[in-house]
Amino acid sequence: MKQGIFEIVKNEALTDCVYRMVLQGDTSAITAPGQFVNIKLEGLYLRRPISVCNVEGDQLTIIYKVVGKGTAQMAAMKSGKLDILTGLGNGYDLRLSGDKPVLLGGGVGVPPMYMLCKKLLEQGKAVQVILGFNTKSEVFYEEEFKALGASVTVTTVDGSYGMKGFVTNALETMDYSYFYTCGPEPMLKAIYKASNTSGQMSFEKRMGCGFGACMGCSCKTITGYKRICKEGPVMQKEEILWED
């Protein structure tokens, strides 16, 4: 973990309520895809945890959905500096991927799949990506994943774009060695049931500090109590204990 001041390079809308922000600063604490950063915003007490979409040198890309005061404030920023804690959480473990991993991103669970996809492709893996959205107007990053060289399937719940249905409908048609996913909890649960290999899932929870001090985001797992912000957000399929 590191604290740094980042300069906003670019901040643009990808859809009605999803934005991409490119920041410049010391990215050296970010060591794995699936980690997150925690952003201090003027006038708001707690920092905002946002997943890392990509790192290129000293440029950090995050993609966020406007869901409340903090993200609305971020969306309105054209330039300036942000106080950010970087290198938080335990990211995806690439060593377990096998030769033909599948990556499933749902909604704002898509961004962390980008850097993961890039890294797996660099290792010569045949990466398949499934991006799930509710409807056509919410779709983002399909072209970016294609540009990396992955095979991409988009699903929409209402069928307005790509394959009609959920990411699990696409998953059932595929042959894969391992899965990586990030998205809303009902989606993770469905993948947990539908998948026929091992895999890793990234979870989201309301956090206090984001670096393991306050125990605000604890959860129970098969291997004991874990903090989503510290031992997580990425968990192995085998250790997950669904709460209900």
Binding site: G212, C214, S218
Partner: protein, 305 residues
């Protein structure tokens, strides 16, 4: 003695800055960021007799200038704290540490305090009779002078180190409770724990916190803390540790003028993990600005109060 040093129940602190229990774990998350030996000491995560997972999530809600937490004393229990956490803590912190203890029965407090009292690295016991987030214990001891005194007396009987009783602000007469603890043998009083608070989500119309209510902390509660520290420090002879919304060197000085011998910093650590290091760095300059030679000389120094 340096300009910043203070004497807390017979142990000299290099400075009065103490990260508060529940915001600093066992120190090692912060030790990754800076040398935590710059701190006066710190109060480690509240320890109970048995392991506890704590409350369901969400446990955190944001407020204007503060936050609500309902963690519910998650901790591995006193045996594991001693066998696993304290050895790790020793590697990154070489000063006496403050052991924070909670319980659900008088016997729990005695059991846990007796064990921790025997640990060489423990300098003080901070007995939490004020946790708002657990049912059937914690705060219920801290809202009744008799119960608070009973816990204090029982703990004093089985321990040798200074016992500091941590009080709840969720009472009508804080002074009577502080005095009851002092009469029962408390070597110090720390206050305030969090204030009972609640938030409701407008979309779902449900409480934001799964446990419905939680402890409100952060800069918003600072004036309440200053007032209660002032009232208690005037009424008792033992040292008082002031806390509640402290986030700057100026806040530390204000708390000491109100009567605090040392000052704990809580929620601010969660937002700015370097805040305690920075407060200690800033103190000499702020002291100069207010013509303060040593911190010891300003304790309880509020005028016409």
């Amino acid at each position: 003695m340096g300009r910043l040093s203070v004497n807390l129940c017979g142990i000299e602190l290099d400075n009065p800055v103490i990260p508060a229990s529940g915001t600093f774990g066992y120190g090692y998350e912060y030790a990754e960021l800076y040398d935590i030996n710059c701190l006066g000491t710190f109060s480690f995560k509240g320890t109970t007799k048995d392991p506890r997972f704590g409350n369901p999530t969400p446990r955190i809600a944001e407020c204007n200038a503060g936050m609500i937490n309902a963690v519910g004393l998650q901790n591995p229990g006193v045996e594991k704290v001693i066998s696993q956490e304290l050895p790790k803590l020793k590697e990154c912190f070489h000063k006496p540490v403050m052991a924070n203890v909670s319980g659900f029965a008088v016997e729990d407090y005695a059991y846990t305090c007796e064990k921790l009292d025997q640990q060489e690295q423990v300098g003080w016991l901070e007995v939490n009779v004020s946790c708002p987030n657990v049912h059937g214990g914690g705060m219920s001891f801290g809202t009744d002078p008799k119960a608070a005194a009973e816990v204090t007396a029982v703990v004093k009987k089985v321990t040798t180190k200074p016992v500091i009783v941590k009080l709840s602000p969720n009472v009508t007469d804080i002074v009577s409770i502080a005095k009851a603890c002092e009469d029962a043998g408390a070597d110090g009083i720390s206050l305030i724990n969090t204030m009972l608070g609640m938030r409701i989500d407008l979309r779902s119309r449900k409480p934001v916190i799964a446990n419905t209510m939680g402890g409100f902390s952060g800069s918003a509660i600072f004036p309440v803390a200053v007032r209660m520290v002032y009232q208690v420090a005037k009424a008792v002879k033992v040292p008082v540790i002031g806390m509640g919304g402290v986030s700057s060197a100026e806040d530390v000085i204000e708390m000491m003028l109100a009567g605090a011998t040392a000052v704990e910093v809580g929620a601010a650590n969660l937002v700015d993990p370097f805040v305690c290091r920075d407060i200690i760095r800033d103190l000499p300059e702020v002291m100069d600005a207010y013509r303060i030679n040593t911190l010891e000389e300003i304790i309880g120094g509020v005028q016409n109060g």
